[in-house]
Symmetry: C2
């Protein structure tokens, strides 16, 4: 018998060889001329899962989506919980190519760092799972995992998962699970193990304001007719009070507030404001009064103006009262805000802030995306953080939150099970940018944590996991 | 001896023949390929002034400006006051040509209406002056006018008078006068004689706001850094209070308030709000509380947003915090607001409304234009309105104001004399638009009023005119 850690250490070369092979396939989902490569990438991972021992491996190509991989390995213990691992095998485009120091599809190892497109996002992380399963079996002496394992490896995540909801609906009966383990995120630092405990949702819209039916001369008409550019400014200005709180009535009604424990743990995350400002290239912080930067980014909903326009856009002056103006706004949501409810509240807010003589319309971008939240007082969360902590020599695992939005909330909604996040990317992995890299020791720790996690989750009942 | 009216009636054909000849010259100052025509137009008017009897007629072509005409006819009465008549001989472009029902440079008479580019703005009005001088001489039996008459007929007014200040400085000693008679405006209606008593001035600027040095992802950074699009909206929204009053400190300090008499006379001007809304194609009125539409347009200063921009401008959504945003603003001024003082006050206002982390800069469009104001309790104003009233069979002459800005304030400033406005255009003359027209009977009334005006002004001393 070996330990999970020893097994991983003894088989590092397997992971490196797999990485080298898979990263050579340029499966860029955003580029139609790379879609054959996306298919090859799916086939490659399907083979790798078969080699790992998964009895059921399928490439799902039965819809408008790019090929996804489904793999299943049932536990011999029939009443073991079912775990669904989510990740994606497609990668980002590589432009601008001239900024890469090495060929993005010729993986290069330099000490503990491997550089290639997809190394961190998300192929490296999926490969630690394959090594993790083997370590789990070797260390426990089992011939099947301690949990029923299902993998769902999407092929369109880097294109915004346009058909993911449809894929989930089509294969609903194959995806039942008690817990989802998302493997597409990162940690605060190599020596600060952490796990994502929330992702924000979003609704976004273009608000159009129409005033006079034509641009008017501001000398002849100025001061006597409503100006839609002024009206849009007043509408946008009304979105926040002086404390940075969003003024849409009911906006905060369903917000799950941070617990004291979460705030204490957030405060331990070693990201300081100076460092944040440097990354943001901003000269000041801003936001909702009473919250730290990390809390504002992860745990608080926002209203941001993404674009503003109306009237003359050229050089110098054109003395008109514009006929039209617009604001593009997005609202980042947190659990348990309901996108439909927020859309309704914003529409009422816009109507209430529409002056006489201005017509407003709001064009929403789809139905919006829910936020997802991982409660930190559950058996699943404890199993996750115990596994990560063990892989990091007993270090405390800190909770973090993602400010952005991904397909995870839709996945959670579709399968009706809670989420946890096991990801070992690092903030400087340059995902979506030139010179993407992954830290190999993080991948090995990920493999160890995954191996331990399956044992840990098996000690919780299916019911215990679902909460 | 004849009366002014009879002389004009007997010589209508002279005016029509002159109009037909001059309007055939397409002197469009905005189009460089028409600048030869602008020169021909100047030469044509110079000849016409010579034919009328002006002893001194010069085409001023000694600077970067397009040719202007100066004509002088000194009175035999040495101590008579000096009058400077201002107008312009250049015309607007004719695009879109396909919307003209007749050739814009082939004058067409239909009953009391003559259609051609420049018929009302400003050739027709200058020609009534030539006939008016002849009527003045004939009716008074004089061989020289009762006042020293100077004409300054500009050739760049339709291009924004870019060199007018320089022309005025170059010829300062030839332009001395006790009163300026501006002939480039109109009346309320054919049966409602009126005269302009003010034109608004203007300062305008682009206000630039810079936040983070690059567009940021609104998920990753949203809610924690200042957004320049939000900041520009808050700045613009702060420009007005709920009563539509401009909130720039000191903005109203130097405003000459309407007198009770002016408000009473304004109230008699037969322009109603429904008609105004129809012309503006607006669904509501707006503006400073406590003032009528005509007062808001003519006698009150404004702050208008002419353009607003920042961030994403395309279709749908792009979830960014923009790096930059801007507002293009113009402030219409009234007497005695000082453009330099207002520029300073706005800059302080912008600085006071610049949040932490946002850098603002204000790019002003030149030094601004002063407003001009004609007091209605002066001998010059009484002489003007008496002359107009007589030409309109004793009807009361109402004061109006122009909401826009022209070269008149700069002229007043340069020559250091008060202004009055004698113009007979009508609101539906379609100046600057296809199918420009002039009402011939208005031109004949203008000629009669001008003839009477020289006698009337001669009865006031030069000192009395200067006030």
């Amino acid at each position: 018998m070996t330990t999970e850690r020893d097994f991983v250490a003894d088989h590092r070369d397997d992971l490196l060889a797999d990485l080298d092979a898979w990263l050579r396939i340029p499966g860029i989902s955003a580029q139609p001329d790379r879609h054959d490569d996306v298919r090859r990438s799916a086939e490659w991972f399907a083979d790798a899962a078969r080699r790992t021992g998964f009895p059921t491996v399928e490439v799902w190509d039965d819809g408008p989506w790019l090929p996804a991989v489904f793999a299943e390995w049932r536990s011999a213990d029939d009443d073991a919980p079912t775990v669904l691992v989510y990740g994606h095998h497609d990668v980002q485009p590589v432009d601008p190519l001239e900024l890469w120091h090495t060929d993005p599809f010729d993986p290069t190892i330099d000490g503990d760092v491997l550089r290639a497109r997809g190394a961190s996002d998300d192929k490296g992380q999926l490969l630690f799972h394959l090594l993790g399963v083997r370590a789990h079996l070797a260390a426990t002496g089992r011939t099947s995992p301690a949990v029923h394992l299902r993998y769902l490896i999407e092929g369109e995540e880097e294109s915004g998962s346009p058909h993911f909801e449809q894929l989930l609906a089509t294969h609903r009966e194959r995806l039942g699970c008690d817990i989802v383990v998302v493997t597409d995120t990162g940690m605060v630092a190599a020596d600060v193990p952490s796990t994502v405990t929330g992702m924000r949702g979003m609704v976004s819209a273009t608000i159009n304001l129409h005033g006079p039916d034509l641009d008017l001369h501001s000398g002849v008409f100025g001061g006597a007719v409503p100006n839609p550019a002024t009206a849009v400014a007043e509408l946008v200005a009304a979105l926040h009070d002086a404390d940075g709180r969003v003024q849409v009535p009911g906006f905060y009604d369903d917000v799950v507030e941070l617990t004291d424990v979460e705030r204490e743990l957030f405060a331990k995350v070693p990201v300081d404001d100076a460092q944040f400002l440097q990354v943001a290239q901003s000269r000041a912080l801003s936001g909702e009064a009473g919250f730290t930067t990390l809390e504002r980014l992860g745990a608080r909903p926002t209203a941001e103006v993404n674009g503003l326009g109306g009237g003359y856009q050229g050089a110098g002056t054109k003395t008109i009262i514009p006929s039209d103006a617009f604001a593009k706004v997005s609202f980042r949501l947190v659990a348990d805000q309901d996108p439909a409810k927020i859309i309704n509240a914003v529409e009422q807010f816009v109507a209430a802030h529409t002056p006489d003589g201005i017509a407003t319309s709001v064009d929403w971008e789809g139905d919006g995306v829910r936020a997802c939240l991982v409660p930190i007082d559950t058996p699943a969360y404890r199993a996750l953080t115990d596994a990560i902590s063990a892989a990091f020599d007993g270090a405390q695992v800190l909770p973090t939150r993602e400010g952005g939005s991904g397909p995870e909330a839709g996945l959670q909604h579709a399968v009706g099970a809670p989420l946890v996040f096991l990801g070992v990317g690092l903030p400087d992995d340059q995902i979506h940018a030139p010179n993407e890299k992954v830290t190999l020791s993080m991948l090995f720790k990920g493999a160890e944590a995954a191996a331990l996690l399956w044992s840990g989750l098996a000690r919780v009942s299916a019911r215990g996991l679902r909460g």
